[in-house]
Symmetry: C2
Subunit: 778 residues, 2 copies
């Protein structure tokens, strides 16, 4: 485990300056006082006010005037005016360059550490071909000038036109290639506020500050200018999640067309009032947000928390929107919110997962393979620090001992003793339950076995019998009543606990029990640009074909918390399969070993409801284990706090997909996962398909052969479904139960007599976007 740099809990605060702030400073300067400039003055002032960075526009109104005069002549202009503008524009296109008074900054010292706002009036997604073409040239001119001044971060104006956002994206992609040292951040409101004000004037964030633009430059007949950008050019705004998703959808398109370029980030603009539900906000948690743009007007609402650790840009703070507190009140309030946030509080408190995990967030680790590899002592030490896990094991053993007849002799076998933590807990439990037992400890790691011998001499004496060797091969002198093991991985069986315990079951009396007695694997669909980029940038060829252990941070679970209304889809996190020890009805050879590993093959087909559009980057994997009775351990996100709160030993598993899969709002995701076994190896394969319900009256009637009324019915055929019927013995589940599938027939049809059918809309596969985990050797 490598640690990332430690970080403090405060976001960097930046201020956003306007052209008028600079003009004011300019007036304050008594002519030119040596090297002092208006820009240096406002930057100095901002730093004195406690801002670490300053964000400002690169160009002045003069540039906007010249560009508009060249490129946006009104239609009623005279032919002479048109021709002279066209010639000026052609000359500019040939050699794009600024005049001195068209830019705010000219010197390296002015530009140092500045974040630059690209001209807000540039319409890279204008409906008019010529406006778009000339906006691209102007953008590249600004970036070239910023490069010249050693500026590394620029913020682009928000895309405004869903219909031409592909053009915006194409231009950004071209700039990322052309300017390799510039980070480009796209300013974007968290949703389009205009969907709630259909007839009011457009918000300044989503609309150009300039008046509606007119193009006149000699368009050929195939480039008919469509002059005014208006609401009517957008996708239909309606009252569902689609409109709330519109700005995210634009970001997704830009990010995808730029192939998840690491230099492309997001400046989340919180100018529109925040929505009151979390669904719209949570998707941004999975994106590479670098800045948060927070105008003073936002402070009407409470800040709902923000993703990761972006820089916060405070705007309009000097405009006196709030009478009390003055300019500093804004930054003080942001600091207050940070300090009181539950996540920050938890991270500061020792013993919490948040505190333990610092530096591990979103860091990909290869899962341990303790069967194949012999672990180093430091790894044992890390995991032995977990107070909860061993407390649960002790409690499970304690209760099992109590349930054992007092007069019968007790034999306990610890299979895979490591450095001895379970042996130690076993003795504590024996003491608490006032029992005596023969304790046998089996370990195959020769190095750890030395530690065990050391502890036997110093602590345990001959109360414990140490046996060296692989539990699948060795024999024990005496059959056990209780077999205790801690072979579980983040996904339950992924460290080959089932295969190892198949071997160790030979040590058990026919009536004996295993701690754990069973464990289950669970999955949820995950979105995370960061994890996707991390996984595909791993050097190994298997980068996107193997699961990783990850402490999730910049992620978003895509499945809805509720099961779908029609009962087709299960809850947010769903169970794949279960293993039980000892196995019932096992077919064994004369040595008590299975002939093949076929019985440890598993598969599951799960259905998730996706309420909000998102990109599927992978699957989150969790486990839950029953140790004994109702004592268990769990990393299932909805149950872990009830079962084993503050347990630290396991982060979830991340199964990546090779190609991200777009999931629309209100869609259904079907996930297949297999645990495949043969005589030498065990591995996982996974695959996903997406579906959506459409009214079956739409469309293909031209192809109709003969009619048939809607008559499909669904019966749960997947093994995973049937196993979900049984409630967890650990938790009285509070999440909505998996609905009766037979309800589908009555509920699946929507209102108004329209019938629906499920239509496949996409898939990812083993090769295109699915995955196959590396083989684990047996």
């Amino acid at each position: 485990m490598d640690y990332q740099e430690s970080w403090d809990h405060c976001a960097t605060l930046s201020t956003s300056l306007t052209l008028s702030d600079i003009s004011k400073a300019c007036r304050g300067l008594s002519d030119f006082q040596g090297d002092e400039t208006a820009v240096l003055k406002v930057i100095g002032d901002s730093k004195q006010k406690g801002y670490k960075r300053v964000c400002m526009p690169l160009t002045t109104e003069k540039w906007k005037e010249r560009w508009s005069k060249m490129c946006l002549l009104p239609n009623e202009s005279s032919d002479e005016d048109k021709e002279s503008a066209s010639k000026a524009a052609e000359a500019w296109r040939l050699n794009p360059a600024f005049q001195r008074d068209e830019v705010t900054i000219t010197r390296l010292d002015e530009a140092e550490g500045i974040i630059v706002m690209v001209s807000e009036w540039l319409e890279l997604d204008a409906a008019d071909d010529w406006v778009r073409h000339d906006a691209e040239i102007a953008l590249k001119q600004e970036l070239a000038y910023a490069s010249y001044l050693n500026i590394h971060t620029v913020i682009l104006p928000s895309p405004r036109n869903r219909d031409h956002v592909a053009s915006y994206a194409r231009i950004v992609n071209s700039c990322l290639t052309k300017f390799p040292y510039i980070y480009i951040s796209i300013r974007l409101p968290i949703y389009n506020p205009s969907v709630f004000q259909p007839s009011s004037p457009s918000s300044p964030v989503l609309r150009p500050t300039s008046p509606p633009m007119h193009a006149s430059l000699g368009s050929s007949s195939s480039i008919a200018p469509s002059l005014v950008i208006s609401e009517s050019e957008q996708l239909p705004a309606s009252n569902s999640g689609v409109s709330l998703n519109a700005t995210w959808e634009m970001w997704d398109l830009i990010r995808t067309m730029c192939d998840y370029n690491m230099k492309l980030t997001l400046t989340l603009d919180l100018s529109p009032a925040l929505p009151t539900t979390l669904g719209v906000l949570s998707k941004w948690a999975a994106e590479s947000v670098r800045h948060i743009f927070l105008p003073a007007s936002t402070f009407i609402a409470n800040v709902k928390g923000y993703p990761h650790r972006p820089m916060i840009i405070l705007a309009e703070v000097g405009e006196g929107r709030h009478t009390r507190g003055g300019e500093n009140a804004y930054s003080q309030y942001v600091r207050h919110l940070e300090k009181t946030s539950p996540a920050v509080q938890a991270a500061k408190k020792a013993g919490t997962v948040e505190n333990f995990a610092q530096g591990y967030q979103d860091y990909l680790q290869a899962p341990l393979q303790p069967l194949m590899d012999n672990l180093p002592s430091i790894t044992y030490q890390t995991f032995e620090q977990d107070p909860i896990k061993y407390m649960q094991y002790e409690e499970a053993m304690f209760r099992a001992f109590l349930d054992h007849p007092v007069d019968e002799k007790l034999v306990v076998c610890v299979a895979g003793a490591g450095r001895g933590p379970l042996v130690a807990r076993c003795f504590k439990a024996l003491e608490r339950s006032n029992r005596e037992a023969t304790v046998i400890a089996v370990e195959k790691n020769p190095n750890a076995f030395v530690t065990l011998q050391e502890r036997q001499i110093k602590e345990w004496g001959n109360k414990v019998q140490l046996i060296f060797g692989d539990m699948r091969l060795i024999d024990v002198p005496e059959k056990a009543d209780i077999l205790v093991s801690e072979l579980l991985g983040s996904f339950g069986d992924n460290e080959l606990s089932p295969e190892c315990l198949d071997g160790a079951m030979r040590f058990l009396k026919p009536t004996g029990i295993s701690i754990p007695s069973s464990y289950t694997a669970h999955l949820a669909p995950l979105s995370s640009s960061k994890l996707y980029n991390e996984a595909r940038s791993t050097k190994t060829e298997k980068g996107l074909e193997t699961p990783y252990v990850v402490m999730f941070q910049a992620v978003n679970i895509l499945s809805g918390t509720k099961a779908s209304a029609d009962g087709r889809c299960g809850p947010q996190v769903q169970e794949c399969w279960e293993f039980e020890h000892p196995r019932r009805d096992a077919v064994l050879d004369s040595q008590g070993l299975p002939f093949t590993n076929s019985h440890n093959a598993r598969s599951a087909k799960l259905r998730f409801y996706i309420p909000h559009a998102g990109i599927l980057h992978g699957l989150a994997g969790y486990f839950e284990a029953v140790l004994y009775g109702n004592i268990g351990i769990s990393i299932h996100p909805h149950r872990k706090d009830q079962v084993s709160k503050d347990m630290l030993s396991w982060f979830p598993l991340f199964f990546p997909f090779r190609e991200p899969l777009y999931l629309p709002s209100s869609s259904e995701l079907q996930v297949s996962i297999w645990r495949i076994t043969n005589d030498r190896r065990v591995w996982y394969e996974w695959h996903a398909e997406s579906f959506i319900s459409v009214p079956n009256s739409a469309g293909t009637s031209e192809e109709l052969l003969m009619g048939q009324p809607f008559s499909g019915s669904f019966s749960a055929s997947s093994s995973s479904f049937s196993s979900m019927g049984a409630p967890s013995p650990l938790v009285d589940s509070k999440e909505p139960a998996f609905l009766d599938m037979t309800r589908m027939n009555t509920n699946y049809a929507g209102s108004g007599g329209v019938e629906y059918e499920t239509v496949k809309i996409g898939h990812t596969s083993l090769h295109n976007a699915g995955g196959r985990s590396s083989w684990i050797g047996l």
Copy 2:
């Protein structure tokens, strides 16, 4: 141009033999006559009947019996029976092997050239985990045995269970890796006939021949066997295209999960009666069909033609289903259908595109770059063979000459004369129109210029003035009335005709005209496994980032022939942009040249309606040019026969996508394409997004903030749309007109008061699946 092997027009005919055919032959054998075996006898008989290949089952009923006894014990079996079956199964799983009487073939000479049918009763997609697991082992056992006998082609039974077809696909993929020398073909009916017979017994092709199977082998609690495979487990069958697409959807999933493996093919089973419309059939044209399975019962209906050149397997021919004609009637009838098929007829007739194109079908060629490269004489010769193209040019010149005032002196300039075909046609047109003219021929290829000199000496004398050099740089002694050029590529402007003619416009008098006077580029969305595989297997890094010239064969145009009912989508093939010569209102420098190449940038956003689900692999590109008046040349699929029938010079362009995009039935595809120019280069970039209409009452109401009635409206903002309003001067278009976009508001809402909204469901992009053409140097 490389030629592929020439091929005849006949498909290979094969016969499908059954176990009873073999038993019959066995009875006919008087014990063992030397090396003769029953299998050799039936093969010999089949060859005598004219069949080139024989298809037969690999295993006998004995194997089915043993497997079923081990793996499918009925639930009511005694515990002893269960245990003994379980032990036998485990022993078999450990060492899967056949007994002599469980296979039909044992010798290399029996197996030579045989196509093997894998046991039809194997359910690789059974709902029960154990049945699937054991079917996988049995399949691999059969493939291993086939490998041993040097058999190269096996046909797998059809997938039957949409819910577990991902498991089927995973197993096939695993076999393709494990058996590198075996071609695996999936038998699949063209659609699921059971959708039309909801309550009748299942068809023999889609259902196992065995009775419903029961599993009993010690399932753990998480593997609850779901015993009977029934209709109810399939996706809801309804009266739209979804059900007709179901078998294709299964094939698509298998093919995708196997990553378009070249060794995976399709055996199209025509047992179900053919549907009466082409939409369901045409999608199979884009797939790698290797065999067509044609039972005698199919002959009730007429065969509707079949894709490419697969082998045809005739089945049940010996069963006397038709009283007249006997067994040979079937193969004779297939031969008759082949001979009378319009495609075969055309291919046999000299002068047709079909005849000319033989060997070029689906062969990817890099587009010519005549500006950058100097073409070899053989290339000129190939294109000069086109009788139609030069006839059209001659006719255009003839009419232009007639329209020129008789008393005015006429100057004609051929810009890019090549080896002189246009010069020769110019003289013919002058003769026909009884005019005299100064003819100037400009050519920059120094090698072709030698040929021109040769022809000047031998044919033309001083009636023609030859000028060597690049038309963008040289000068002519006299301004022309008519400038004639043939610089067009398959997509119109892709060989840089606009840029070259910008230079040559200096040669034209102010009133002069250009032949061609304009040209347009057109696109349609394309599906083709073959072209996708060909493009990605090209050695260059740019394999999927450059367009190709291709004579399409195994392709399917995905867009519907009709515009969508709501008017949002245009016709099947849509216009992108236009170039006109001479340009109006051009801004030029003192030499008459443009300052920049900005005016030749273009972009288009097109909307296609997709009636049937399919995989988008790329875009088909076409051009149409107006030479003069209503004389033109066109490769637009719906117009070429009206404009310039039998013209041979251009095959369409294929723009590949890097990742295939799944398009559901009744979806909308939005395609963006850009022609990008700078001072040194020209290139294309392309991108696609898919959308579907969903009722906006469905789903995300939990996220609702405030209501707003459906109020979106669409106005055509793309330049491409406005240009489509004008009808082609060449054709009174018979395809449905592009509907008025304003109709959307009234028609977009469906029946029953449900409102619809358009939801994005996927995209392909420059990087994930879009493309960027190689730069063309200016």
